[in-house]
């Protein structure tokens, strides 16, 4: 016999779909089927059942081979590494629950670490912009029920947030949006003809890296002022048309992604996008939202926000919280040799940091807490496999619109495996013993 667990929350992207159904074996130990999830979400659930999964901590030997160690030994190594370091970097925190993030913060305070999350290579520049000029935002529920002008700027939800369009932004029928997609106008700004662009009413194939100009041109067009013939590769007639489309809506929402946060201009691109939203509110109701990637990167920003006052790049090495992107951010610290140990949890910098940073991690004492085998575990000295949050343990996560959602446990973790939170608590205990606090 099998049983079906309903209303399961997907721990992949910031959309945090909460309508999954998962079929598990009667004893609750095996996960058999996943319904309603996108291809990526389903794979995340199913991979937890992989036969070749690593279930015990391991330490790299001199000859390059791995030696299995106990969780106690791993916690002891981690605690010593962090306590001995002058300025350790504790990075990741986005693929775990808020409970684990909070314990991690306690460790960070005890050892004087720099705490940074994956926003540093994702929406960190958006957070800088929000601090610069604020953000008029809303929830995804409001988008579903009200928005009739949808603008995707430098993001490709068809690939990165596969169910976003069907659950919230393009296709659903909401309270004031009963016609579904036929009542909405969809605009995509992207240098490629993405699969999202293919379902849009208008695609502006912008010259890569010229987002600031086009955003500013929209502000000019809203006011009916003169534009040059072509801006960022887009003819002015098209820009006036898009401006008019946005102004004529009842509720416009701008979703933006890595196309603006990672292109040259960085936080200033987001400044301009937020200014576009603010200007648009002169004519209609408008909001803007970052398309957050990891399912709980938003939660990490929330937890640190209420604990330290800053959402990422928090330097605790002086005994109080400092925040200065460009100085206290992971890639800058690594490339400038300003940290002397690296602790990674719930992220894979080995795959997703520029290689010049990866090489620095390889040269330092390092621990990776990670259920998968990844390029990060490959270069770290100790790899601590843990239970999958959202699959084998529940906990709080924040959706991309800052709505907290409690994730659910659907199966047991393999015998004897620890969760992030349990492992961090044992590290914290050891750190306190070593430091005598």
């Amino acid at each position: 016999m099998t049983k079906t667990v309903t209303d399961v929350v997907c721990p992949f992207c910031g959309t945090l779909c909460d309508d999954l159904e998962v079929v598990v074996s009667d004893d609750g130990k095996k996960l058999l089927e996943v319904y309603n999830a996108c291809a990526i979400g389903a794979e995340k659930f199913l991979h937890s059942q992989a036969k070749d999964r690593i279930t015990r901590p391991r330490m790299r030997q001199e000859d390059g081979s791995w030696k299995e160690i106990s969780y106690d030994e791993a916690a002891d190594y981690t605690a010593r590494m962090l306590a001995d370091a002058k300025k350790p970097l504790m990075y990741g925190w986005s693929s775990t629950n808020c409970e684990a993030q909070s314990v991690g913060s306690e460790i960070g305070e005890a050892v004087g670490a720099v705490m940074d999350n994956t926003a540093t290579v994702c929406h960190g520049t958006s957070l800088i912009a929000v601090q610069d000029i604020g953000i008029p935002s809303c929830t995804l529920g409001e988008v579903k029920n009200r928005a009739d002008r949808i603008l995707f700027w430098g993001c490709n939800p068809a690939h990165a947030h596969p169910r976003h369009m069907s659950r919230y932004s393009i296709f659903p029928r909401g309270f004031f949006t009963g016609k579904g997609h036929t009542g909405r106008k969809v605009i995509v700004v992207d240098p490629r003809v993405t699969d999202t662009a293919r379902v849009a009413d208008v695609h502006l194939q912008i010259e890569q890296g010229h987002d600031y100009e086009l955003l500013d041109a929209l502000r000019v067009a809203f006011k009916g002022e003169q534009l040059p013939d072509v801006v960022a590769g887009i003819p002015k007639a098209k820009i006036y048309e898009v401006a008019e489309t946005l102004k004529s809506g009842r509720f416009a929402i701008i979703f933006f992604g890595m196309g603006v946060t990672q292109s040259i201009g960085k936080n200033h691109n987001i400044d301009a996008a937020i200014a576009v939203t603010r200007d648009l509110n002169e004519y209609t109701k408008a909001a803007i939202m970052p398309m957050r990637g990891h399912y709980n990167v938003t939660g990490s920003g929330q937890v640190w926000g209420w604990q330290f006052g800053f959402p990422f790049a928090v330097d605790l090495s002086r005994g109080f919280a400092r925040y200065n992107p460009g100085e206290t951010t992971s890639n800058d610290l690594l490339r400038r040799d300003e940290v002397d140990a690296v602790f990674v949890l719930g992220s894979d910098p080995g795959a997703h940091f520029p290689f010049s940073s990866v090489r620095k991690i390889y040269d330092l004492p390092s621990v990776a807490v990670e259920p998968h085998e990844t390029p990060t575990t490959e270069i770290c000295k100790v790899h601590v496999p843990v239970a999958f949050v959202g699959v084998e343990v529940g906990g709080c996560a924040y959706r991309m619109d800052n709505v907290p959602i409690e994730t659910r446990k659907v199966v047991d973790a393999p015998e004897g495996m620890m969760t992030d939170e349990e492992f961090l608590k044992s590290v914290l205990m050891r750190v306190r013993e070593i430091k005598g606090v």
């Binding site: 520049t125 890595m258 990844t374």
Partner: protein
């Protein structure tokens, strides 16, 4: 042999996401991310068939990937490597005091490297860290 200059951007693809969750040590991850998507016009300039291995070089590094036709084009002059260790060998790591490396918009050169293999993710990173890459 021809060399072309293109503007490189990186990002997610659904194949990258699925294969990443299935295990970055598996061949499917290399098949999904150890590639460069080129526009047909750029293939013509390069003068090679689809699915040929190429060396992509920027001022920050160099990597071997397989050249495939763009699935979300046309975008002449723009090349796309899905986010991952292959792209990160060559992207512009400068953050310009924002903390954010410049993952999008790195000028690169692409040249044919038929006989050179595309390494798996773990091997690529391991060899890179040990200074064993050509």
């Amino acid at each position: 042999m021809a060399t072309i200059r293109v503007n490189l951007i990186t990002g997610r693809t659904i194949q990258q996401g699925v294969s990443m969750e299935a295990g970055k040590e598996k061949p499917a991850y290399t098949a999904a991310c150890g590639i460069i998507e080129l526009d047909p016009a750029d293939f013509k300039k390069l003068g090679v068939f689809r699915n040929t291995n190429v060396r992509v070089t920027s001022q920050y590094g160099s990597v071997i990937v397989k050249a495939v036709e763009a699935t979300q084009g046309p975008h002449p002059g723009v090349a796309y490597i899905p986010m991952g260790p292959w792209a990160n060998m060559i992207v512009n790591p400068n953050t310009y005091s924002t903390g954010m490396p410049t993952f999008k918009g790195t000028p690169v050169e692409v040249e044919v490297a038929k006989s050179e293999p595309v390494l798996g993710s773990l091997e690529l990173v391991r060899k890179g860290c040990r200074g064993e890459l050509a």
